[in-house]
Amino acid sequence: MTETMTDCAAAVGAFFAGAFAELDGWRDDLAGGDPTVRPADLDARVEGLARPALTDSSPLFVGAGFIAAPGYVRGRDIHFAWWLGPQGGNPLLGSSSSATRLDLATRAYADYVRNFRTLEWDQVPQSTNQTHVTGPYVDHLCTCEYIFTLTMPVRIGEDAPMVGVVGADVAVKRLEQVLLPLLLAADGPMLLLNDVGRIVVSTDPTRPVGDMLAGPGHPLTGYNRAACPGVDLVIASPAHPSQT
């Protein structure tokens, strides 16, 4: 493992740590909330947190908010308080110049909502009580972009059940802006991989973003690796560049 690889891994860790630090503040705000919360009050509170983060000059998030677990909001199975950043020519939502609320009612999400409990971005924080990064994946429900979804469990009291997750969608290209210059500074090809071995950022033209470099069926051999701190991603570089 080279020093460059460690630096790149640290930069990825810092990128996600920055995003989670923002969500930390939201979680603390909502965890201090009233358990008998009214939907309108909850929504206003979440909007107050999410909207500024979606509309600043160089937003880190393309979507963000809070998704309440079933029963937390009175009379609701689950409750989405989720806002989307400005959309340029989104094929599903049209264009918008400000943050808009994700409106489930107009988008035929009955099936989606029914399967809510099985979704990775909800299930993993629920079972591990840890933050989780889902993706990257093409999000066709909200942004039609290639994104990560970051989620963090919210509990009111330490041993209390999870009342929901605060979360944010981060575009892969936003991470690329930060990471690519660092990867390009290395001598050989460099890759960022997710937990299933999918390529997220690459300086090897023969290994494009979206491809699988390695998986359970074809393990990552012949590559040096550096784990990114605090997030299940890894910087990889061929141990002997000629073998790529």
Binding site: L92, L119, V138, H140, L141, C144, M212
Partner: protein, 252 residues
């Protein structure tokens, strides 16, 4: 956010439009969705301003389009709280309207749409097979097991949803966007064959085989299977068109 069960065909109805003849496009998009059963009777359409934003057209264009649909007896406007535009209940299926729509389209245009649709779906399936991780394959498998193909409406939604799943697994945002646009334009017509129980069964079998090919990372098979699937749907549509042109009914 990611979902397990994505009713993509329905959302695609309201996807953005291209430039020319926008009122006609609003009318055609909603008419197809209603007469081909993607939008259900008594269902409320999004508000006029929401439709305008999502189609990417002026409010007046949406109003003109809705007026045409009202005149055709496809939607009614209810006033007051809980009001809006609602899909009219039809006593009979909109069979004569389907008939008129198929008659109005040239065979060569239908054929061409099928070629283009197949090209996109083949590309999605091929890439999905190359790029799917084992958990992706598990999710696709579970999605298909949970999807309903037993009813006409269920089969239409699920068939379109499956294409969208494949597009998502391709990891290409552009393919996802193009598939959504294409399903909005051509999906309801192409899936007309879902009225036929045998066609529904054959589609489910084909989808199962595609899941198998994706799991095996067998890109050539995934591509071949989707080519055949879209060809079967297109043949069904061409046969329906031929029946109409011979003076019969599309669903004879």
């Amino acid at each position: 956010m990611e979902a397990n069960n994505r009713p993509g065909a329905r959302d695609a109805i309201f996807a953005q439009l291209v430039d020319a003849g926008r009122t006609e496009q609003v009318t055609a998009r909603l008419t197809d969705a209603i007469i081909l059963g993607v939008l259900a009777p008594d269902e409320r359409l999004p508000s006029e301003s929401d439709l305008a934003r999502r189609f990417g057209v002026a409010l007046v264009t949406v109003r003109e389009g809705l007026a045409v649909l009202r005149d055709a007896g496809l939607v009614e406007t209810r006033r007051g709280r809980g009001g809006g535009s609602f899909v009219m209940k039809a006593d009979a299926p909109h069979s004569t309207l389907v008939q008129a729509r198929l008659h109005g389209l040239a065979q060569v245009d239908l054929s061409d749409m099928a070629v283009y649709f197949a090209t996109i779906v083949e590309g999605c399936a091929q890439r999905a097979a190359v790029r799917a991780s084992p958990p992706d394959s598990d999710r696709l498998d579970r999605w298909l097991r949970d999807a309903d193909f037993t009813t006409i409406a269920g089969a239409r939604t699920s068939a379109g949803g499956f294409y969208l799943e494949l597009a998502v697994l391709s990891q290409s945002a552009r393919l996802v966007r193009e598939l959504i646009r294409l399903q909005a334009e051509f999906g309801p017509l192409l899936l007309l064959g879902m009225t036929d129980a045998r066609a529904r069964l054959s589609l489910v079998e084909s989808n199962r085989a595609i899941v198998g090919a994706v799991r095996a990372n067998d890109a050539a098979s995934a591509r071949q299977l989707s080519t055949e699937q879209v060809r079967n749907l297109a043949e069904w549509l061409m046969n329906a068109k031929a029946r109409i042109e011979r003076g019969g009914a599309w669903d004879d």
